[in-house]
């Protein structure tokens, strides 16, 4: 990666997250590279922080981050020709503000623990799949920091925007409830 790109991405991280330019370590995500677009993650080499901001470099050296308005739309418009469902899922996960980060489950060998838990819950593992004539994609997304698994359905609207519907399948902590009060439970019948 040339220094110019590195610096451009590090500056974008500084603007969006407040990280110092010299603490940003920029890596290209080669698996996402497209003929006219490249993609990068940034880690802080100072902060014990798992979050990795993502950036796309589009034709004309336009840097797009998750904070860029309509980031997903711009990337799909500029880079998605003939891209796979896996690629769509990765882009939507990394650049849609309602998703942001996480592991797109494309290969059931990657997280056998999840596959086991899905099987126990009677849910089949499915890799990312196109829907609606390639105007939508359906995939499993693991939010690893809090170990929650979601089914994501992302659809392109006629205007080109991406609508995301996220349904939790596994994980999370049930909200602790105070000891159930049988009187409260019966109180509704009194109204």
């Amino acid at each position: 990666m040339d220094d110019k790109i590195h610096h451009k991405i590090a500056e974008a991280t500084h603007e969006e997250f407040g990280w110092k330019v010299d603490e940003a370590k920029v890596d290209e995500v080669e698996s996402l590279r497209r003929p006219s677009c490249s993609f990068y993650t940034v880690v802080s080499n100072e902060r014990p922080l798992s979050y990795q901001p993502n950036y796309a470099l589009l034709p004309g050296d336009h840097v797009i981050g998750i904070g860029t308005a309509n980031a997903v739309t711009k990337i799909l418009d500029g880079c998605a020709a003939d891209a796979s469902a896996d690629w769509w899922a990765e882009i939507i996960t990394r650049f849609h503000p309602d998703l942001g980060d996480g592991i797109v489950l494309s290969d059931e060998q990657e997280r056998p623990d999840i596959v086991r838990k899905l099987a126990q819950a009677g849910v089949a593992f499915t890799p990312p799949q196109f829907e609606h004539g390639k105007q939508g994609v359906n995939f499993l997304l693991l939010e690893p920091e809090h170990y929650r698994l979601y089914r994501v359905q992302a659809t392109r609207t006629p205007s080109g925007a991406i609508e995301v519907n996220k349904t939790k399948l596994l994980g999370g902590t049930p909200t602790p409830k105070s000891k159930s009060d049988p009187v409260d439970a019966i109180a509704e019948s009194l109204n």
């Binding site: 969006e16 997250f17 407040g18 880690v43 802080s44 080499n45 100072e46 902060r47 014990p48 922080l49 798992s50 979050y51 990795q52 901001p53 981050g65 998750i66 904070g67 503000p97 309602d98 998703l99 942001g100 980060d101 996480g102 592991i103 060998q109 997280r111 056998p112 623990d113 086991r116 939010e143 690893p144 920091e145 809090h146 170990y147 929650r148 939790k168 999370g172 902590t173 909200t175 602790p176 105070s178 009060d181 049988p182 009187v183 409260d184 019966i186 109180a187 019948s189 009194l190 109204n191």
Partner: protein
């Protein structure tokens, strides 16, 4: 207008779920049913010849409750009929008698009360002094509402396992003190439900106290608190009587007469907390209420609402008084005062209020915008009152944020990602994603998002702070991330994780090369000495032999195949694991 047509009432009662029938509950014996409904076991057995094994009842099966002989005979005179039909009609007549008895015993103030020695001891069979519950001036609808309400209370009382006698005692009081609001019904039931495990004598005292309160729901709430207090439960019947009498007498003190209903409720609840009731509690509560006199009307309402929500807790009241008298509070802008007092009401807990007061002494809090003050207050309120976490970790975490000498500052930052970014620890600044916590004076919604931020992220990041963690390509850094997760897990669940939970929820991610951690771990694993530490850690987690050749396989293996089956406690990380 008098209710003169008891026949109609009887018809109505006959439509109601048969009070002469009860249903067996799970694992209940016939003897337990007899105790529950307040009849003799032998009579109950005779009335239910279909029951072949009194110790093995089918849950949900109907059990006929026998009536005392006198009433049965009256009923039989009315209904000469074949045995089965008679049996059914006897019960219907008993129901009618019960309703007649119930309503006729509900007396206006100018009518003498039924003999207290008999009320509550089998009302279905008694014929207390005849008097109508509703005088002239009540509409048919009001009378109907009362009748309907009494039916509902009867049914609910049965479902709650309140003894038949106590239900009747409660209905006597409610019928004599219309209107029958849902709050009145609910709180009456709560009181008798709370008292149901007391001795019959003690339950009668409670019933008498309820009668003396004229069914006032505010007093019912307070009496419930008193009855539930372990000191009350352990006290002798004589002491219980003295306390209940004292409570009743104090609720009639002249100091209470000029108070509004909310303020009066605060005093009554304070009287019922931590028995015995005493005059001191009135004066100290009035003193607390007086401390709100300079607040705006909105804030006064929040102040009193908080006191009521705290149920008369003297520690809460003392902390709230201290807070509003604190010069730091007085120096807040009006909207900021409302923000603080809103959360003292939403999180009506003595510790939460003390923590809000500590917040007021933090320069960083006072410098925050109103929106961010609201976010901070909610987060601290939620963490302070989280009911099922590790209290020591939560207490220590709060102390690190709010302690006098703590250098940590909290800052709400607008990150571009509103979904998966919760927060991060700078040198001494805990940055939290403000998109995760809505502004406003409402209570924090209780869901995954708010749990993740308040209960997980805050203890996690504070753990990094107390351990001076730094990013490095070492096992030590790997372990420090595991430690911070281990602490947040305990903070949330109040237990240590199992090995499987640790592997699934954390280690597999920390060793995944796609993750931030995985990149540093991969680098550390290239160093043979560091790699040995990783292998040893995985061995302690799985019970398996781990080396350079198999560690990746071990990480993805099914915990059911581990020698410890994944159910052993996860390894305890080194370092500070309770945020002290």
């Amino acid at each position: 207008m008098r209710i003169s047509d008891n026949t109609n009432l009887a018809t109505d009662w006959g439509d109601f779920q048969d009070p002469g029938i009860t249903q067996a509950r799970a694992n209940e014996t016939l003897a337990q049913v007899a105790t529950r409904v307040g009849v003799n076991l032998a009579d109950l057995q005779s009335a239910n010849p279909q029951i072949t094994d009194p110790n093995k009842l089918t849950p949900g099966s109907e059990i006929r409750i026998p009536a005392p002989a006198a009433d049965v005979s009256v009923a039989r005179e009315e209904t000469p009929a074949p045995v089965n039909a008679t049996s059914r009609h006897v019960e219907t007549s008993l129901e009618a008698n019960a309703m007649r008895s119930l309503l006729s015993s509900s007396y206006p103030p100018n009518v003498s009360a039924p003999n207290s020695s008999t009320s509550g001891s089998g009302g279905i069979a008694q014929m207390p002094p005849v008097a109508m519950p509703l005088n002239e001036g009540y509409s048919e609808k009001e009378k109907q509402d009362l009748t309907d309400g009494l039916r509902k209370v009867y049914r609910a009382g049965e479902q709650l396992g309140i003894s038949h006698n106590d239900i009747v005692s409660m209905l006597h009081t409610l019928a004599g003190n219309p209107p029958l609001t849902s709050k009145k019904m609910t709180e009456s039931l709560r009181l008798f439900f709370m008292a149901k495990d007391l001795s019959p004598q003690d339950r009668k005292l409670v019933g008498d106290a309820f009668k003396a309160s004229h069914g006032d729901p505010t007093q019912a709430v307070a009496l419930t608190k008193l009855v539930a207090n372990p000191k009350f439960v352990k006290a002798s019947t004589q002491t219980k009587k003295e306390w209940l009498d004292k409570f009743e007498a104090l609720t009639k003190r002249p100091e209470l007469k000029n108070l509004g209903p909310e303020e009066k409720s605060v005093v009554i609840q304070a009287l019922a907390s931590d028995p015995p009731p005493s005059e001191d509690k009135i004066s100290s509560t009035l003193d607390v209420l007086a401390s709100a006199k300079n607040l705006s009307p909105v804030d006064q309402k929040l102040f009193v609402g908080g006191l009521n929500a705290a149920g008369g807790d003297p520690a809460y009241a003392a902390n709230l008084k201290k807070l509003v008298e604190d010069p730091k509070f007085k120096s807040l802008k009006p909207a900021e005062k409302t923000a603080v007092l809103s959360q003292t009401k939403n999180y009506a807990d003595a510790d939460a209020v003390a923590n809000f007061d500590r917040l007021l002494h933090k320069d960083w809090f006072r410098a925050e915008s109103l929106d961010n003050k609201q976010r901070t207050l909610k987060t601290i309120g939620r963490l302070s009152t989280y009911p099922t976490g590790d209290r020591q970790i939560i207490y220590n975490t709060l102390d690190k944020l709010l302690g006098d000498k703590s250098p940590i500052k909290l800052e709400w930052k607008k990150y571009p990602d509103k979904s998966t970014f919760w927060g991060e620890m700078g040198d001494t600044v805990l940055y939290l994603n403000r998109q995760k916590i809505p502004k406003g004076n409402d209570k924090l919604p209780e869901n995954d998002e708010t749990n993740s931020l308040a209960i997980e992220t805050v203890p996690h990041e504070v753990n990094h702070f107390v351990n001076h963690d730094k990013v490095a390509s070492t096992f030590h850094y790997f372990e420090s991330e595991y430690r911070a997760w281990y602490v947040e897990f305990k903070a949330e669940h109040n237990r240590v994780p199992t090995s499987q939970e640790a592997m699934d929820q954390r280690i597999s991610w920390q060793l995944n090369p796609k993750s931030f951690y995985g990149k540093y771990a991969a680098s550390a694993l290239k160093n043979p000495q560091e790699a040995q530490k990783f292998y040893h850690f995985l061995e302690s987690m799985t019970g398996m032999k781990v080396d350079a050749k198999n560690w990746k396989t071990v990480v993805k293996s099914d915990p059911a195949t581990w020698p410890n089956k994944g159910q052993a406690a996860a390894p305890v990380p080194s370092g500070n694991v309770d945020n002290h």
